[in-house]
């Protein structure tokens, strides 16, 4: 029977993580990271992931102050965590726009060597000029060429990992370097859900994240990816699908549902709802009551400010039509934001309920596992390891011991 593969995605920023909890573990302290990975290793997780965001989020030109913020350099942090763990995979999200290919390939290979084959690279293409303001050549890459650069970058990195001298001289990738850490094979993860992202995944990735936790969508997504794999001559079993998922556990279904409602409400506080609308209005809305109606003033003419780094591309245009639609809802500011920017937890229930559901997902190959986004630290991670993992093991869909030592072995990848 196929086994579920589990990871935890430690994003480090955003409204997901509830910092108002009295037992909130300081999410930037090394001790919190160590405690988290050790708990996950006890729970036989495949991997621990760090996100990437190379500019602190802002709202109307000021640092955005309502969410957790602050994160380490991923590869540095994972190298430290490699010294504290034996088995768990260590995955760094790193972009292909604001890194030098040979430099990044070298640091990833170094992590792989020093961790005994436990490194992974979650490939992202973050190409916006706003993030680029922190780099030598900000905004150099045209958005529509980001996956072309990523493809050449990844291909060059693979060549360097194999060893020897690698030379590339195109308008997107230009260097000559000799491998300093030959013979490594970091596991490649890819998250983009666009056509270009799926294609990059089918060509190069060992694992994809997706946003598709809904069963029917997950099935359709898996079918699409397996078709693309075949077109690159890869077997259907050469890629793992691990959607990002948030999980809320309760002792009873009613308790879990109540907890999920509470979390959703906490994630959209009044100040956050106002800040969300400020991105669209382009104006200071702090004087408005979050529980009152939408602002009576008109939004500015300009398009959306990308500086939160969170607005999907399809939301960056047509804001006036969108706002007109929101007004027709007739809801309060906070209710409007909860409705148009929902933060539903993906799986809510008792450990037994969720284990049953996940067993169905994995035995029908809709997914190969999940990448869990914690809402509470350390609570979410401890609950999943102590309550959900035993239920999964009981159903025969989760390992009872690590069999291999490398991330590639954990994921049963070729």
């Amino acid at each position: 029977m196929p086994h579920l593969h589990l990871g935890v995605f430690f994003t480090g920023v955003g409204p997901q993580l509830l910092w108002t909890e009295p037992d909130f573990a300081a999410h930037t302290h090394i001790d919190t990271f160590i405690a988290t990975v050790k708990t996950l290793e006890r729970g036989l997780f495949d991997a621990f992931f760090l996100g990437e965001g190379l500019r602190v989020r802002e709202n109307r030109g000021r640092v955005y102050d309502l969410d957790v913020a602050g994160r380490p350099d991923a590869i540095t942090q994972l190298a430290a965590l490699a010294a504290e763990t034996e088995r768990i995979g260590l995955v760094a999200t790193q972009n292909t726009t604001y890194n030098f290919p040979a430099d990044l390939a070298r640091r990833l290979a170094s992590l792989d060597l020093i961790s005994g084959g436990r490194a992974g690279w979650n490939i992202v293409t973050t190409d916006n000029a706003w993030t680029g303001e922190n780099f030598r050549n900000g905004g150099w890459l045209a958005h529509e060429r980001r996956y072309e650069r990523a493809g050449q970058f990844v291909e060059a990195a693979k060549a360097l990992w194999a060893g020897g001298t690698v030379e590339r001289h195109t308008d997107l990738v230009d260097f000559t370097a000799t491998s300093t850490v030959p013979g490594t094979r970091p596991v490649l993860f890819q998250a983009g859900d666009s056509d270009g992202g799926r294609d990059l995944a089918a060509r190069h990735a060992d694992v994809v994240f997706s946003a598709n936790t809904d069963y029917d969508k997950a099935v359709a997504y898996a079918a699409d990816l397996r078709k693309r794999l075949a077109s690159y001559g890869r077997s259907a079993d050469s890629l793992r699908i691990l959607p990002g998922a948030s999980v809320v556990l309760g002792d009873t279904p009613a308790e879990a549902a109540e907890k999920a409602r509470w979390i959703e409400r906490e994630q959209t506080t009044g100040p956050r709802a106002l800040a969300f609308l400020e991105q669209y209005w382009g104006k200071d809305l702090s004087g408005y009551d979050p529980d009152g109606p939408l602002p009576d003033i008109e939004p500015s003419d300009g398009e959306l400010d990308p500086s939160r780094g969170t607005i999907p591309i399809e939301f960056r245009t047509g804001k006036l039509e969108r706002i007109a639609g929101w007004r027709r809802l007739g809801l309060s500011i906070r209710e409007t934001v909860v409705k148009v920017n929902p933060r539903h937890s993906s799986f809510v229930g008792t450990p037994g309920q969720i284990a049953d559901e996940w067993a169905r997902y994995v035995t029908t190959r809709a997914v190969d596992g999940f990448n869990i986004l914690p809402q509470r630290l350390p609570g979410t991670v401890e609950d999943i390891v102590d309550k959900l993992v035993p239920e999964l093991q009981e159903r025969g869909v989760y390992r009872t011991a690590y069999e291999g030592t490398t991330l590639r072995e954990h994921l049963e990848l070729p």
Partner: protein, 332 residues
């Protein structure tokens, strides 16, 4: 006198050397690096990765990787070092690397800089790293449940830095390092001595070291370390033959010069080394030792220097350097 040892020769697993140096009370280990493979072949794990791993296998000793300003992004460099400081709870240092060879620059598709251009680039990267390390004030995280604010946005700053070849808006993605500022070590020949915490002086003879140490202090370096190549033991070959008339060691006949950069070199027995270290103690604050063979020379060196009290807990405290006031906090 502070002791540092370069442990690049330890390959991918430098843990034993770092722990031995820590047990002997050394102030720090340094980890040399290059974007090019070792001349003799084999692997060279990136120094920041090695240092981060060591951060969790040691508890008192300073850890200073070499990061080259020429072949990386300054923002990544500052983030890496801040993260190393967090992971080690305040033991990070940075040995400024400025590899300007054609082969190194080719790894990023670049060309070597002019001498002036290189000096300016080093200064810019150091300046922006220091600004970025200060871009979060120590008390930026407020977790104020009353107002729903996690951060005090007035205490997280754009740095708006414009250098000759790059500009950076900031702030850093990482909160201020535990030491406030990572300890910055660099050669006195980089032309930025006033920006250093520790100036590293490589010269073949004691009188030249003394002159340059004096100059480095005049230029504003709080501490000066001499660089010393070491082959310790009567059984060790003297290495490169000493050219005639180059004995500038003031009578220590075992002190000879060898290839560039011309560091002070000692090849000989323990007593001679004791004498040399005593004399160095009169002119510099510390010595960074470059063992010819780490596995042989480090244990012998430790036998000579004997156990010293553990420093720490931070590298700044070990070195007697104050935790710097945040430049943005003072500007407010």
């Amino acid at each position: 006198m502070f002791l540092a040892v370069e442990i690049d020769g330890a390959g991918a697993k430098p843990e034993a050397a770092a722990r031995a140096a820590e047990a002997a009370g050394f102030a720090l280990v340094t980890l040399a690096d290059s974007p090019l493979p070792p001349p003799g072949g084999g692997s060279r794990v990136e120094a920041g990765v090695r240092a981060a791993f060591l951060a969790r296998r040691t508890s008192r000793i300073g850890l200073a990787p070499t990061l080259h300003v020429t072949v990386t992004e300054p923002f990544h460099l500052a983030t890496q070092l801040a993260s190393l400081d967090h992971a080690s709870l305040g033991r990070a240092g940075w040995v400024i690397g400025a590899d300007n060879s054609a082969a190194a620059l080719a790894t990023i598709g670049g060309r070597p800089l002019t001498a002036d251009g290189l000096r300016r680039e080093v200064a810019d990267v150091v300046d922006v790293a220091r600004k970025l390390w200060d871009s979060w004030e120590d008390d930026a995280v407020i977790r104020d449940t009353g107002t729903g604010r996690f951060l005090d946005a007035d205490r997280v700053h754009h740095v708006n830095y414009s250098g000759a070849r790059f500009s950076i808006t900031g702030p850093l993605i990482t909160p201020r390092p535990p030491q406030g500022q990572v300890v910055v070590l660099g050669a006195d020949t980089l032309g930025i001595t006033g920006r250093l915490d520790v100036a590293l002086v490589a010269a073949p003879a004691l009188d030249e070291i003394a002159d340059r140490a004096h100059q480095a202090r005049t230029d504003g370096a709080p501490l000066v370390f001499a660089e010393l190549d070491l082959s310790l033991g009567e059984d060790r070959p003297a290495g490169a033959e000493q050219p005639a008339g180059t004995d500038r060691s003031g009578g220590l006949d075992a002190v000879t010069s060898w290839g560039a950069p011309e560091r002070l070199r000692y090849a000989g027995g323990e007593d001679g080394l004791r004498g040399l270290l005593d004399r160095l103690g009169g002119i510099v604050d510390g010595v960074r030792v470059h063992p010819t063979e780490l596995d042989v020379d480090l244990p012998r060196l430790i036998a000579v220097t004997g156990p010293a009290p553990a420093g720490g807990p931070t590298l700044r405290e070990t070195l007697g350097l104050a935790r710097p006031v945040n430049q943005f906090a003072t500007a407010r």
